[in-house]
Symmetry: C2
Subunit: 462 residues, 2 copies
């Protein structure tokens, strides 16, 4: 009886000891990142030395070289490129939307072509019909829509607390508006920008055509312009609207995922992945989307290096290419993992902006979810409180296989869509400490997963 009690006491004290060590390690990770992190300066360099970097562009190639050099300078054990083929869409010099009112006056509209749109090949002009939901499209039918420009003006719902939900409930009109409207004979598409802010800044983003023979131009307009246009239509003040876009789709081209690793000391064949996407839209600087995610991801490996933590498993940072308009990087990476049979234990993506972190969205088995939730109390001093089941991210999504645990960093969402896909997504709008707190949070969870492994994986070794 006595010896059983001793064993129990020993176990409890070992458990408490380990908790205490973890708590100290997390403190060390946060202290380091809040005082000596490189991630803010790395983001400045990416935003200011490279700037925006749409797949296929020269600056995307420069970003690949920048990332490779940065990883090499971090003295990672391995740094390599993974070649992929990416779409190459190019915004033209001409990007104009304006309308004439019944008095013959011209009203200019703040606009930006949607990524993937065809150009107008001259000027497209016509009457405008406003649509708020898909059923209206059907109601109006070919009779009313044919020959007109369709204006998708569904507003992002401000009552969603998580702005990502508001985005998710609206983005279909941007993505599929043109391909749906063309079926009713539309000649062009305007889409209200995906933002909760009421301002003059248009936000681009991806769209695609369902049918390669029926392509009509599609352009985003600012929320203020969308409001004004809607009012003008209501008051019968709008006569014709004019669109002129010189954007075009070029041939696919070669690009790369950029990958860096620290080899694991005990289980080098088990990968713990952390990543974001290196490409961005071609306006602004891709600071929050997703410069923040790539510099934070690299910062995880930097943290291990600088604090002389020797990972048990192989830590891999992946800077994906082409998340914005094709996800070719994420898909190719996953297909290579399937081909080579590389054992991935855990993958974490940061792609929701460099804001004050709130927690993690976990896409794994029930046991993995509960296991990660058991770490929640370690994060309480750092004000992380979300450890819930949910979607991880676009780049790591294709890795999903029912066994691997996928996780997305969840920052505060209130400001993200103020900047997302617009000229306002610049370095100056990222807050140093918030970025560093995000890097600390993902470094911490990677530290714990590396140390303890994860349940429901054959190779779990505590």
């Amino acid at each position: 009886m006595k010896s059983l009690l001793s064993i129990i006491i020993l176990f409890c004290s070992l458990f408490l000891k380990s908790q205490e060590i973890d708590s100290l390690k997390l403190r060390e990770i946060y202290d380091f990142n809040l005082q000596q992190s490189n991630c803010y300066e790395n983001l400045r360099s990416l935003c200011k030395d490279i700037g925006h970097r749409l797949s296929g562009s020269k600056s995307a190639q420069k970003a690949v070289e920048w990332a490779e050099l940065l990883m090499k300078n971090s003295n990672l054990d391995t740094v390599y490129l993974q070649q992929i083929t990416v779409p190459h869409w190019k915004r033209g010099d001409v990007e104009k939307v304006y309308w004439k009112n019944i008095n013959g006056e011209t009203i200019d509209v703040n606009c930006t072509a949607l990524g993937g749109s065809v150009g107008t090949n001259g000027i497209v002009n016509g009457e405008v019909i406003e649509i708020k939901n898909w059923s209206q499209l059907e109601e109006f039918g070919k009779n009313k829509i044919k020959g007109k420009i369709v204006f998708f003006n569904r507003v992002m719902n401000p009552t969603y607390i998580n702005t990502g939900m508001a985005y998710g409930s609206c983005v279909d009109q941007r993505h599929s508006g043109a391909s749906r409207a063309v079926e009713y004979g539309a000649i062009g598409v305007l889409v209200r920008s995906m933002t909760l802010k009421f301002d003059n800044i248009p936000h681009t983003g991806s769209m695609s055509y369902a049918d390669s023979t029926k392509k009509i131009p599609a352009v985003a307009i600012s929320t203020v312009d969308a409001h004004n246009l809607s009012e003008a239509l209501k008051n019968n003040e709008l006569k014709y609207l004019f669109m002129e876009l010189s954007c075009k789709q070029l041939d696919d081209t070669i690009s790369y995922n950029v990958i860096g690793e620290i080899k694991g000391q005990e289980f080098p064949d088990e990968i713990v992945l952390v990543g974001g996407h290196l490409d961005s839209w071609d306006i602004g600087e891709g600071a929050h989307d997703d410069g923040a995610g790539v510099v934070q991801s690299l910062q995880v490996l930097e943290t291990f290096k600088k604090l002389k933590f020797k990972p048990k498993r192989t830590l891999r940072c992946v800077m994906y290419m082409n998340e914005e308009n094709g996800n070719r990087g994420g898909k190719h990476y996953a297909s290579m993992v399937r081909k080579t049979g590389e054992k991935h234990l855990f993958a974490l993506e940061s792609d929701r902006g460099g804001f004050s972190p709130r927690g993690f969205s976990i896409d794994g088995t029930k046991i993995q979810l509960e296991y990660l939730q058991s770490f929640e109390k370690l994060f309480k001093p750092y004000q992380l409180h979300v450890f819930s089941k949910g979607y991880s991210g676009v780049d790591i999504g294709p890795l999903k296989d029912g066994k691997l645990c996928l996780v997305g960093l969840i920052p505060d969402s209130q400001r993200y869509f103020d900047f997302h896909h617009s000229k306002a997504d610049v370095f100056e709008n990222v807050h140093k400490r918030e970025l560093e707190l995000g890097a600390s949070a993902i470094s911490s969870i990677v530290y714990l997963v590396d140390k303890y492994g994860l349940p429901e994986n054959k190779s779990l070794k505590k």
Copy 2:
């Protein structure tokens, strides 16, 4: 046995029903505020039509009139002013700090006089001695300090996750630096600005003298200037530093707390108070500090009005005067409560910036704390997660009597000290949704406290 079971089932279903009703009411409060709140436009008006409003200034008087009119326009049941006497400190036109290096070059320093400082009465100049903590002051002693300007350069610790803690551990050098240094014969004081940001913006704030006969001028300098000055001292590059300030203390003057109420329907004599402070420092616009708090507080009453909620208890919004440099408003309000014996049940203050709300800091009895914590799950959909024991706020602090429950709204703290007491604290740096989410959070907790009362108060009526 059967009837007991029925009673239990009835109780459970009533309990669940009430939870469901509360959850719907909170949803209604949030929906209203995220779609139709006035608080952002009210803040714009306070910042742009009035601007900064230091106690005793003309603009503070304008702010009192503005607040009274706003409350009257909100059709509150009662609106009145509570007269107080406030200090009147005036920044002068001259505000200059510069130093000469060994090559005779002049280096200008970004500075702002500390509130309460005497002027320099001409130019004060001398050598500079850098101090990082109080014990250094003692170590150097009169021998080294006499006739010099003391430069307090303790850095806000970036490893605190809550930036308020970092502020709290540094602000003593601003507040007491001059009165401590003068004991060693110092002729002036420079204080590193209280911010975690490394930039050129100086931040003012209150200071006071322990001894009315020994007053030396005190000025804040930006963190970049503090860094440069420290480097210059280290490298023996600084010869003399010059200070010229024309600020002065004028006679006390009359001002007011502005108070508005909705009368309670069942217990009109029980007060549920919500407030912030109307005064601000005399640079910037006092947008986060504390324009946000006053417009959010009024928004609580607006929410009840517009949603036609009839409060059981009397809801009172107090816009306090003189939080920044004397807290005369808060102290006088509390003394009047003691004098009249007015029964206060609950007081909530919003004075930590208009950022994304995280929860509440509760200064009450153990039972009150646990009682408020029982509401935490109702706030989970709104991402509030802090319901912990802690300090409430400066204005409501004097009400503390061991029975009354005091609460502070806790927003995300990362950005607050970027703006606090500086020219950067302007309307443009407040985020509409974040401000509205804060107003929703305090409206919600006031709704619950009004409905259910609070334990450990004689008049608790559920």
